[in-house]
């Protein structure tokens, strides 16, 4: 779909043409899923985010400014849907656990630290990374995902998540600090 065609489809979708909106869904679904999965790290959650994001986009399409880039706008919606979903999951999780989210990966008992051979296995590293990421707050995780996996600048993260530049920057910093602490055992085994 070239730029002119894409603009025409978008204009029709904004006027309520469901076939045009369908074209947008078909065009963007895979990239939306990719971002949602990177944010949530869970296939089913990512599917839920995809669905909710398009429904939100449809509701808010009237407010979308045609000068803006639809992909960027949708990207923002997906990021915020992911944060919302992670928040609601975390709230339920905290209610069940009744304790702080910073526990867990940071307080690994010594006996739990795998030996060098096992540590070398990338699957194990991935698991640890995943645990560490899960222990970030939703906003930290979203900001970190956008910075680390998606290569977004602090300015872009700020715009995407609707945060001030300073808040966006500090979300990334906090995430990096927590990850460094959580992954320190792996680092020490490696060195």
């Amino acid at each position: 779909m070239d730029a002119t065609e894409a603009a025409a489809v978008l204009a029709r979708a904004r006027q309520g043409d469901s076939d045009a909106f369908r074209a947008l869904v078909e065009q963007h679904s895979r990239s939306v899923f990719r971002l949602a999965f990177r944010m949530t790290r869970n296939e089913q959650d990512a599917e839920d985010v995809v669905q909710e994001s398009f429904l939100r986009a449809y509701r808010q399409l009237g407010r979308f400014e045609s000068r803006a880039n639809f992909g960027t706008w949708l990207y923002r919606i997906v990021s915020n849907c992911s944060v919302d979903l992670m928040r609601s999951k975390q709230a339920r999780h905290d209610q069940v656990r009744g304790d702080s989210i910073d526990e867990g990966a940071m307080e690994l008992p010594a006996a739990d630290v795998p030996g060098p051979e096992r540590m070398a296995q990338s699957a194990e590293i991935d698991r640890r990374v995943q645990d560490a990421l899960r222990d970030l707050s939703p906003l930290e995780r979203a900001a970190f995902t956008l910075r680390h996996y998606e290569g977004r600048t602090i300015e872009e993260i700020s715009a995407t998540l609707g945060l001030g530049t300073s808040a966006a920057k500090h979300s990334v910093f906090r995430a990096v600090k927590k990850l460094r602490v959580a992954l320190a055992p792996l680092r020490s085994q490696e060195s």
Partner: protein, 298 residues
Amino acid sequence: MTHHFTEDELTLYYYGEGRRRHDVERHLESCADCSATYREIAGTLAMIAAPEVPERGDQYGLEVWQRIRHKLPDRETGFARFSGFSGVSRFFGFSGFWEFSRFGPAVAAALLVIAAFVGGRLWQRSITPVDTVASNTSRGGNPENPEHLANPANPEHPEHPEHPENRANLILLTSVADHLEQSERVLSDIMNAPRGDISAEQRWADDLVDASRLYRQDAIDAGELSVAAILDDLERSLIEIVNSPSKISAADLDQIRRRIDAASLLFKVRVMSDELRQREQAPDRSAPRTSTSTRVTS
């Protein structure tokens, strides 16, 4: 240089951001402490590789659309915003405007099409010999010579696209193609629906059953036997969907799906719909067919 850089500044440096990048670079060459901190930050972040995202096929966009299209909320645009239509519809408890606009008029449309189809045929039969003679004369044909009717370029030739019967057939084909596309969506929904409530699908199927019956009868009259055969299969599946419990069990839903699968119904409906669309594009091919592509023969 005595100024050390903070961990946050080094993090930004790692990501290629931050001011004074050149200063950081020079400092790292000369400061062992900052260099060690930077190596630790970079080493940790390098461990965090992008997760492998599960593959999604080419049809994924369509699957997403199938999942959300019935959940699309009302949007206040155009007519609804200015006329207060959405408010009125809510007042009367008629929230399924989308659903109605998609399938509700199916039966009405079917009746209109059939009226046009039958009308076209009756009109053809009602042409009197006098009319024919007058018509031929006005076109420069020779009323004494019936051979001109054998000329395929003559609009009165039965194979000419402008022949009233063919025009009526074309209207029918177009409408049946629309009907098959709507039915395909219902069948796709059933094939992809999560177990539980299928009441929305049942309402649409219910609307389509009557139209299907009318189109099938008309297809038989028009000699479109393969179209009629698919409409017959479709009608049975639609009736089964309509008559199933709304809160369907996984086993019952599987059974419906197996029947749809066993009859290759979704596939046949798609192929037939495509074929009818192609025939629309080439009106000279709108003449009745008793068999169609081998892919869709039952």
